[in-house]
C-alpha cells in the first residue's frame, strides 16, 4: 500500500557528523605515501610514473566531470526524481577545482622541461614509426605545407596547453561552485527562486561544459599520440565519465546508507533508476566505442588505423586487454544489469558499481599505457611492451591507492559538515515519493 510521504527529511543523520576530521588526514597521508612510493619504486623514471599517474588522475577526473554533468542535466531537465542523490554529485563536482593540484604533477614537468608525459613536448619531436611514410606522402602531396609537426605545434604547445587547462578548471570550478553554493543556500532559506536560477544557469553552462570536455579529453588522452585523431574520442571519454560518475554516486549512497546516513531519502526506486542509467551508459559506451572503431576499420587509412593496430595485436599483449574490455566493459555488464531484480538488490548493485569502476579504470589504462609502449618502452627494450611483473603491478596498485587516497581526502575536505542530501528543495516531495514502473 502506497502512502504519500511528506516533503521533508526524516533520516536521523544527514551529514558525516565529524567523521571527515578523522578520515581526511588518513586518506591524505595514504595518498601521499602511495604516490610518492610509486615514483620512488619506478626509480624516479618520470615517463613511467607519469603514465600510470595519468591513468589514475584521468580516473578521478572523469568521475568528477561525470558528476558535474549529472548535476547540470538534472537542472536542465527539471528532474525531480534525483533530488535526493543530487547533493552527492554536487559535492563530487566541487572536488574539480581542487583536482587542479593533482594535475600539477603532469603540468609542471611539461612546463619546465622539454620532457614529461607528452611526446609533442619533446624538443626533437617528429612523427615516428609506422606513420612516417604516410606523413612523407602527405607532405609531398602539398609541398607548400610545413611539416605536420609544425602544424600540430600551433595547438600542441606547452603554453597554450597550460592556458587551456586553466580555462577548463575555471569552467568546471565555476559551475560546480555555483551549483553547490546555491543548493546549500536553498537548504537554509528554502527559496524556490534558487531552483529557477540554477535551471537558467544550467543551459549556457552545459554548452561550456560540452566544449571543455571535448577539448580536455583531446588534450589529456588523445594528444598522447599526437598524430592520431578521432572526432569520436571526446564522446567516448564522456560516455566513460558519466558511467563512472553514476557508479560512484551509487557506491557513495550505498556506503552512506550502510553507515546509517540518509537512510530514508535514497530508496530502492532511486537505485533502480541509477541502475537503469548505468545500463544505458554501458550500452552507450559500447555504441560509441564501436562507432569509433568501425569507421576507422572501414576507412582503413594508415594514419588512423595504427592506433588500433597496436591495441588489437594479440602477439604483443594489448589485444588481450582489448578483448577484456569488450567482454568486461560491454557484454558482461549488459547482461548483468539488464534485469530489474539486480537493480533493486543493494548487494548485487554494490558488486555492479565496483565492477564498473574497475572496468572504467582498465579502459583508461588501455587508452594510456600502449602509448607509453610506443613512445618509450620500445626505446628501452627492443621488443617493446611493458614487462608485466609483480613489481609493475605493485607500483601501479600503489599509484592507484595513492591517487584515490588523495581524492578521498579532497572529498572529505569538500564535504565537511555539509548535509549529504538537499534539505529544502521544492522537488523533494517528488523525489521522496518517486516510484519506478
Amino acid at each position: 500500500m502506497h502512502e504519500t510521504r511528506p516533503a521533508k527529511i526524516t533520516s536521523p543523520i544527514v551529514d558525516l557528523g565529524g567523521a571527515h576530521l578523522k578520515l581526511m588526514p588518513i586518506a591524505l597521508i595514504v595518498g601521499a605515501i602511495g604516490v610518492g612510493l610509486t615514483y620512488a619504486l619506478y626509480a624516479f623514471d618520470l615517463q613511467r610514473f607519469s603514465h600510470i599517474y595519468l591513468v589514475n588522475f584521468a580516473f578521478v577526473l572523469t568521475m568528477c566531470i561525470g558528476c558535474l554533468f549529472f548535476v547540470t542535466i538534472s537542472h536542465l531537465t527539471r528532474a525531480g526524481w534525483n533530488v535526493t542523490v543530487r547533493r552527492i554529485a554536487e559535492l563530487y563536482a566541487q572536488c574539480l577545482p581542487v583536482l587542479f593540484i593533482l594535475f600539477l604533477p603532469i603540468l609542471i614537468p611539461l612546463l619546465f622541461s622539454n620532457d614529461g608525459l607528452y611526446v609533442w613536448n619533446q624538443a626533437g619531436w617528429s612523427i615516428d614509426g609506422a606513420s612516417t611514410t604516410v606523413i612523407a606522402e602527405l607532405n609531398e602531396a602539398d609541398a607548400k605545407l610545413p611539416p605536420l609537426e609544425e602544424l600540430k605545434k600551433a595547438y600542441l604547445n606547452k603554453t597554450f596547453f597550460a592556458i587551456r587547462w586553466v580555462v577548463y578548471f575555471c569552467i568546471w570550478g565555476g559551475m560546480a561552485t555555483f551549483f553547490l553554493r546555491t543548493s546549500l543556500k536553498q537548504d537554509q532559506t528554502g527559496d524556490k527562486k534558487l531552483t529557477s536560477r540554477m535551471q537558467a544557469f544550467s543551459a549556457p553552462a552545459m554548452i561550456a561544459f560540452a566544449a571543455s570536455v571535448v577539448f580536455s579529453s583531446m588534450d589529456l588522452l588523445m594528444s598522447l599520440e599526437p598524430l592520431w585523431f578521432s572526432t569520436m574520442f571526446p564522446v567516448y571519454f564522456f560516455a566513460g565519465s558519466v558511467l563512472s560518475a553514476l557508479a560512484l554516486i551509487t557506491l557513495t549512497c550505498l556506503y552512506l546508507q550502510r553507515t546509517g546516513r540518509i537512510t530514508d531519502e535514497v530508496t530502492v526506486e532511486h537505485y533502480h533508476d541509477m541502475g537503469k542509467l548505468m545500463f544505458g551508459f554501458v550500452v552507450f559506451w559500447g555504441y560509441i566505442a564501436f562507432s569509433q572503431f568501425l569507421l576507422i576499420w572501414y576507412a582503413n587509412i594508415p594514419e588512423e588505423t595504427f592506433w588500433y593496430e597496436y591495441r588489437m595485436s594479440l602477439t604483443d599483449g594489448w589485444g588481450v586487454l582489448s578483448i577484456i574490455l569488450l567482454v568486461g566493459h560491454l557484454f558482461i555488464p549488459f547482461l548483468f544489469m539488464m534485469g530489474r531484480t539486480m537493480r533493486r538488490n543493494k548487494n548485487l548493485l554494490l558488486i555492479a558499481v565496483i565492477y564498473l569502476l574497475v572496468m572504467h579504470w582498465i579502459d583508461l589504462y588501455w587508452l594510456v599505457m600502449p602509448q607509453y609502449d610506443r613512445a618509450y618502452a620500445h626505446a628501452i627494450e627492443p621488443d617493446g611492451m611493458i614487462q608485466f611483473g609483480v613489481r609493475t603491478l605493485l607500483c601501479d596498485a600503489a599509484c592507484t591507492v595513492g591517487v584515490l587516497g588523495l581524492f578521498a581526502g579532497i572529498f572529505f575536505l569538500i564535504v565537511g559538515d555539509k548535509p549529504l542530501v538537499t534539505l529544502q528543495d521544492p522537488r523533494l516531495g517528488e523525489a521522496l515519493n518517486h516510484e519506478v514502473h
Partner: protein, 494 residues
C-alpha cells in the same frame, strides 16, 4: 441489481463492475479482493496508479523474456543472412573454393567476405526491428488482441473511466465468483456503484450490410492490379516517367571514357590531366585474385626457380617470348602437373575439346602438324604467295622428349608461344592450358602418326629450325595464315 437478466438466453454474465471515486479506495478494494481469493479481476483507471499491480496480484509480464529470445534469434538471423548472401567462407577468403555458402561474393572495400565489424550495424538493426515486433505483437498475444468489441463499453457509467472514475471488475470466470456474494463483497469494500456486465450474444451475428460491402471492397481492390496488367502489354510513344531523376541521370562518368571539358569555358579543364575520366591503377597493383603467385600453376616453373623471369605474365607477347627464351634454364620446368590441377577423365575430355578448337587448326587433330591452316599455308608458300614455317608435329622427338620438353615447358609454349607460334595466354584460361597439356601427353602416348606425315615433318624441320633460332622472325608475313586460323577458331567455337 437485477439478477433475472442472468437467466435470459441471449445474454451472458461477464462480471461485476464496481465504481470507486478515488485511487486510494480502489487500491484498498483491490487488496481486499485479492485477499478474499479472487484471481480473475482487473482495475480500470484514468491514469497509472502506483501499486496497483501488487494490489491486484498481477505477476510481472514474461514479455521481456519473449523479446530476449527473439533478439537472440535475431543475432543468429542477422549474422547468418549476411554470411549467406556474402558467400562467406571460412578460412582463406581469397579463393572461391573456400566458400561454404556460395552467395554473391561482393568484394567491398577489400574487406573479407565475412567480416564481423562490418556486419554488426546490420545485425544491430535486425535485433532492434525484431525486438520491436516481438514487443508489439507479443503484447497483443498476451492481451488477446485484437478484440473487436468489449462488453464494458456497453456500460454507460464506464465511460468516465477516461475522465475521473475508478473501476474494479470481478470476472464471472473466477471460481470464487458468485453474483450475489461478490456484490455483497464489493459493497462491503466501499463501491460507490455496482453494475452487471453482460455479453450480448445476439451481437455475434454479422450485420446484414457487411457481407455485400466486403464483396464490393474486394472487387475494388482488384482494380489497381488489373489496371497495371492492362498497361503491361501495351506500347507507348511517350517518354518514360522519371520518378527519381537523380538516379536516372547521375553526375558521373562511365569507365573508359574521355573526360569532357568540365570548365564549360574555352580554356578546357578535364577531370584528370590526361583527359581520362578514371584513374589508372597504381603502378604495380594487381587485380584481386590475379596475383598468380603459384609459379607451378601459372607459369609451369618450379617453385625454387620462381624468382626467374618474374614478370613474364605482365610483359607484352613479343617481349615475354624473348625473355623466356633468353632466361630459360632447362631445369626450371616442372615435369608433372601442378597441385591445383588434377588429371582425370574430365580434364582430358576438356583438353581434347580445347585442343581441337585452338590447336588442331595448325597441329592437326592427331597432333601430326597437318592442320588445315598448315596445309593451306604450305600450298600458298609453294606458289610463292606466303612465307610459312610449318607447324610442328607433336610426335616430333624434340616435342616428345620429356627431359628437354617437360610439361612445364609445353605449358609455357601455349602460354607465351615459341618460335613462330603465337601466345595463347589471352585466349585460353590457365586450367584449360593444363588440360591441353594433359591431352597432348595422351596424344603422344598413342604414338599415332598420320601416313605421309614423316615427309612433311622432316621438311618442316629443316626449314623451321634455323628460322626459329633467329627468333625475331617478323610477324607480318604470317598474318594471312593467322587470320585464317582465327576464322577457323571462331567456326570451331561456335
Amino acid at each position: 441489481m437485477a439478477n433475472e437478466t442472468n437467466n435470459s438466453s441471449d445474454k451472458e454474465l461477464v462480471g461485476l463492475l464496481a465504481q470507486f471515486d478515488d485511487p486510494t479506495s480502489l487500491l484498498a478494494a483491490c487488496n481486499n479482493a485479492r485477499e478474499a481469493g479472487y484471481t480473475k479481476m482487473d482495475a480500470y483507471t484514468p491514469f497509472p496508479v502506483h501499486g496497483i499491480d501488487p494490489a491486484l496480484g498481477i505477476k510481472r509480464s514474461f514479455l521481456p523474456f519473449i523479446v530476449l529470445a527473439v533478439a537472440l534469434g535475431a543475432v543468429v538471423l542477422g549474422l547468418g543472412m549476411q554470411f549467406y548472401t556474402n558467400g562467406g567462407g571460412i578460412g582463406d577468403w581469397s579463393t572461391d573454393e573456400a566458400a561454404i555458402f556460395p552467395g554473391y561474393r561482393f568484394m567491398i572495400s577489400g574487406k573479407p567476405y565475412f567480416s564481423l565489424p562490418a556486419n554488426i550495424p546490420v545485425t544491430f538493426e535486425v535485433i532492434v526491428l525484431s525486438s520491436a515486433f516481438a514487443t508489439f505483437f507479443g503484447m497483443w498475444i498476451i492481451n488477446r488482441l485484437p478484440r473487436l468489441s468489449n462488453p464494458l463499453h456497453r456500460v454507460s457509467r464506464f465511460k468516465r473511466v477516461t475522465n475521473d472514475k475508478f473501476f474494479l471488475m470481478l470476472e464471472a470466470k473466477d471460481d470464487k465468483f458468485d453474483a450475489s456474494d461478490s456484490e455483497a463483497h464489493l459493497n462491503q469494500w466501499g463501491a460507490v456503484a455496482i453494475e452487471e456486465v453482460n455479453q450480448d450474444l445476439t451481437d455475434t451475428k454479422l450485420p446484414s450490410w457487411m457481407a455485400p460491402a466486403a464483396l464490393i471492397g474486394a472487387l475494388l481492390l482488384l482494380i489497381p492490379p488489373v489496371a497495371i496488367f492492362s498497361v503491361y502489354g501495351s506500347t507507348n510513344r511517350k517518354p518514360r516517367l522519371h520518378v527519381v531523376p537523380d538516379m536516372d541521370w547521375q553526375h558521373k562518368f562511365k569507365t573508359q571514357v574521355l573526360s569532357p571539358n568540365i570548365a564549360e569555358k574555352d580554356d578546357p579543364v578535364y577531370l584528370f590531366e590526361n583527359r581520362r575520366a578514371m584513374r589508372q591503377p597504381v603502378e604495380g597493383s594487381v587485380r584481386f585474385g590475379s596475383l598468380e603467385d603459384d609459379s607451378e600453376m601459372f607459369r609451369g616453373i618450379k617453385k625454387e626457380f620462381s624468382g626467374q623471369a618474374a614478370t613474364v605474365g605482365l610483359k607484352s607477347n613479343v617481349l615475354a617470348s624473348t625473355a623466356v627464351q633468353e632466361e630459360e634454364n632447362p631445369d626450371q620446368w616442372i615435369t608433372g602437373f601442378p597441385e591445383g590441377f588434377k588429371v582425370n577423365e574430365d580434364t582430358l575430355a576438356r583438353g581434347k575439346q580445347r585442343f581441337e578448337i585452338y590447336c588442331s587448326v595448325c597441329h592437326g587433330y592427331a597432333g601430326n602438324g597437318d592442320g588445315l591452316v598448315n596445309q593451306r599455308a604450305i600450298a600458298l608458300a609453294a606458289n610463292g604467295k606466303a612465307s610459312w614455317t610449318a607447324a610442328k608435329s607433336l610426335h616430333d622427338p624434340t616435342v616428345t622428349d620429356s627431359v628437354k620438353n617437360p610439361t612445364g615447358r609445353i605449358y609455357d609454349t601455349i602460354t607465351n608461344g615459341r618460335n613462330t607460334m603465337g601466345p595463347y595466354r589471352d585466349q585460353i584460361p590457365v586450367e584449360d592450358r593444363w588440360a591441353i597439356v594433359a591431352y597432348v601427353k595422351a596424344l603422344q602416348a598413342t604414338g599415332i602418326t598420320a601416313p605421309g606425315a614423316e615427309a612433311t615433318e622432316s621438311e618442316a624441320e629443316e626449314a623451321g629450325e634455323p628460322e626459329a633460332d633467329e627468333s625475331a622472325e617478323p610477324a607480318a608475313e604470317t598474318t594471312e595464315p593467322e587470320a585464317e586460323a582465327s576464322e577457323a577458331d571462331d567456326a570451331d567455337t561456335e
